[in-house]
């Protein structure tokens, strides 16, 4: 096995009864890489992370994290990783600070410099003022921030972040991402994160795997995946959008065509030349907008639908999530 690989996954699958939550994925992540698993709700992102961190037994296939097989040497794997769960797992009855103290003990953070490290992490996620309050009294975003502080506290070699910034304000998001990128650069930390924010994957991931219904449908550098589309995204608003979409689908220079709420979206190759041709063939267009293509169009290309279309909030994990339960 390649020593430079932080993670290698071979035909990994997890079935829940008849449901193939993860359906035979093969993937590898380089050491020090920042890698995104991008997919809609229920795609199998969390299930994948759970198998990589030893929390779920794969139904089939194998996975290797930091040089160790997740099933055969789970403890060795756990000694190399940090995990930020989608649903915060911080302890309600402890204060934010106590949560980190506990974690430091549990994760062998050297006593020397422990306190300073915890101070740094608390201030990174902006919880200095509230560090002594019980987590019970935290908002959802604060819990998530504490969870992030805890995940990176012990300088893991491989860091898993399951939707790390969902529910955080843009400023905090940016701030935390800057830190994680810097950490990856300076310490060689491999970072694997999941997200259903396209922008987040485009902006922060060096490489991304797009996952849908348990299958990886594309892998590559975000800009390469977008460039492969070979065009710009054109958005057309039209009353008879279904008809318009059908016409566009037949045009040789159009790809990734989708239609929703009277808006047709398509990737048009050489738009400077082809857009006029296209418009001449269509009628009833109300507005038109041209912008650079994004990963959303990549997703449409492979699945025929936009990443957010059937992703109503409230997947399995969201339903389980009710912080005011205790």
């Amino acid at each position: 096995m390649n020593e430079k690989l932080a993670i290698s996954i071979e035909k990994l699958a997890k079935h829940f009864g008849d449901l193939k939550a993860v359906d035979g994925i093969t993937l590898s992540v380089q050491e020090g890489e920042v890698f995104a698993l991008l997919g809609p709700n229920g795609a199998g992102k969390t299930t994948t992370i759970s198998m990589l961190t030893g929390l779920l037994k794969p139904t089939r296939g194998s996975a290797n994290v930091a040089g160790f097989d997740v099933e055969r040497e789970p403890l060795k794997v756990r000694q190399q990783i940090g995990v930020v769960f989608q649903q915060p797992s911080v302890d309600d009855l402890l204060s934010g600070r106590e949560n980190l103290d506990m974690h430091a003990l549990l994760y062998n953070v050297p006593a020397k410099g422990r306190r300073e490290r915890i101070d740094d992490m608390i201030s990174l996620v902006g919880l200095t003022d509230r560090q002594h309050a019980k987590v019970k009294e935290y908002s959802g975003g604060m819990r998530k921030r504490l969870e992030i502080a805890r995940g990176i506290l012990h300088h893991p070699k491989v860091l898993f972040l399951d939707e790390p910034t969902t529910g955080l304000d843009p400023q905090t998001r940016q701030h935390i991402w800057e830190y994680i990128k810097k950490m990856s650069r300076l310490e060689g930390t491999t970072v694997v994160f999941t997200t259903h924010y396209l922008e987040e994957a485009e902006q922060f991931a060096e490489r991304v795997a797009i996952i849908d219904r348990g299958k990886i449908i594309a892998t590559g550098k975000p800009h390469e995946l977008v460039n492969e589309l070979g065009g710009d995204t054109v958005l057309l608003k039209a009353k008879k959008s279904k008809e318009v979409a059908a016409k566009i689908r037949k045009m040789p220079f159009a790809a990734s065509v989708s239609e929703k709420n009277d808006v047709v979206s398509a990737v048009i190759a050489s738009s400077h030349k082809n857009l006029p041709i296209m418009l001449r063939a269509l009628s009833g267009i109300e507005t038109i907008e041209i912008r650079p293509a994004t990963l959303n169009e990549v997703f449409i290309k492979y699945t025929g639908k936009g990443i957010r279309e059937d992703s109503a909030e409230g997947g399995f994990w969201e339903r389980m999530m009710n912080p005011n339960n205790r």
Binding site: L56, N108, R117, D120, K182
Partner: protein
């Protein structure tokens, strides 16, 4: 804010670190359990109220017309009820894992870089501490009402409680680790907690019992706990101290082994 970074900052995993890490892990989990217990006042209060109901309602009522072995019924049943407090506290404690699992607090511990046996041990010490706090409160109340005669009896009862708690908490953790949802709670009450309590000699002497009861009483580890408690508080024992302790220690080792394996297999 960015200090503490750089390649040297990561802990190198060496044999010594792993060894120390094991006990740091046990300690961290133990401390967490104690803090959580102390902060959940409802748990502390209910843990003491139920046994008191038994002593004063059942013991007082029945005791008005019943004497056992030449002493008041309340006097006789007190060591049994103290054992019950340990049993109930321990099984409830073990089943708390289900809530931790449901509310996700368990995940952090399950991905921690310590062997699951360390997690088990930390939880076991935590549960023993909880159970000891509960039974100590009960014993102190017993002192006030004359069920506990003096300091030596009190200290001996607390010492024996440690052994009983180790056994019962291990059992509770086995149940907690293998149960996926709180729905099984009532089953555990009906098929584990109540029978273990009823058929332990807590409420009646284990003499001249019908044979079908006698068998169950003899294989019930709590029987030997009750016997120890009676030795500490009343000075009488049916099986003898060494035999009681031997059985409890042996059963604890078996339970702890099974529990530790259950933790090993535990998924989210």
């Amino acid at each position: 804010m960015m200090n503490g970074m750089g390649a040297g900052a990561r802990t190198r995993i060496t044999g010594k670190v792993i060894f120390m890490g094991y006990f740091d892990g046990v300690y961290a989990i133990w401390v967490r359990e104690i803090i959580v217990f102390m902060r959940e006042k409802e748990r502390v209060i209910s843990a003491v109220v139920t046994p008191l109901m038994w002593i004063f309602a059942v013991g007082g009522g029945l005791g008005a017309s019943v004497q056992i072995q030449g002493m008041s019924y309340q006097m006789f049943m007190f060591p049994g009820i103290a054992s019950m407090a340990i049993l109930f506290g321990s099984i409830f404690y073990g089943m708390y894992i289900i809530w931790d699992r449901k509310l996700d607090f368990l995940k952090e511990v399950l991905v921690a870089p310590v062997p699951r046996s360390a997690v088990f041990l930390g939880k076991m010490l935590g549960g023993m501490s909880d159970a000891l706090m509960q039974v100590t409160v009960l014993l102190l109340i017993g002192v006030a009402f004359g069920f506990v005669a003096g300091l030596p009896a009190l200290l001996l009862a607390i010492a024996f409680s440690v052994i009983i708690a180790a056994c019962m908490v291990s059992l509770g953790l086995i149940i907690g680790a293998n149960m996926k949802s709180p729905e099984g709670f009532n089953l555990v009450m009906s098929f584990v907690m109540w029978p273990m309590f009823m058929l332990s000699g807590a409420l009646f002497p284990v003499e001249n019992l019908p044979s079908y009861i006698d068998i169950i009483v003899k294989i019930n580890p709590l029987t030997y706990g009750v016997d120890l408690m009676r030795l500490a508080l009343l000075g009488t024992s049916k099986f003898g101290m060494l035999y009681d302790i031997g059985v409890l220690v042996f059963v604890t080792i078996v339970f702890a082994y099974i529990g530790s394996k259950s933790f090993d297999r535990m998924q989210i």
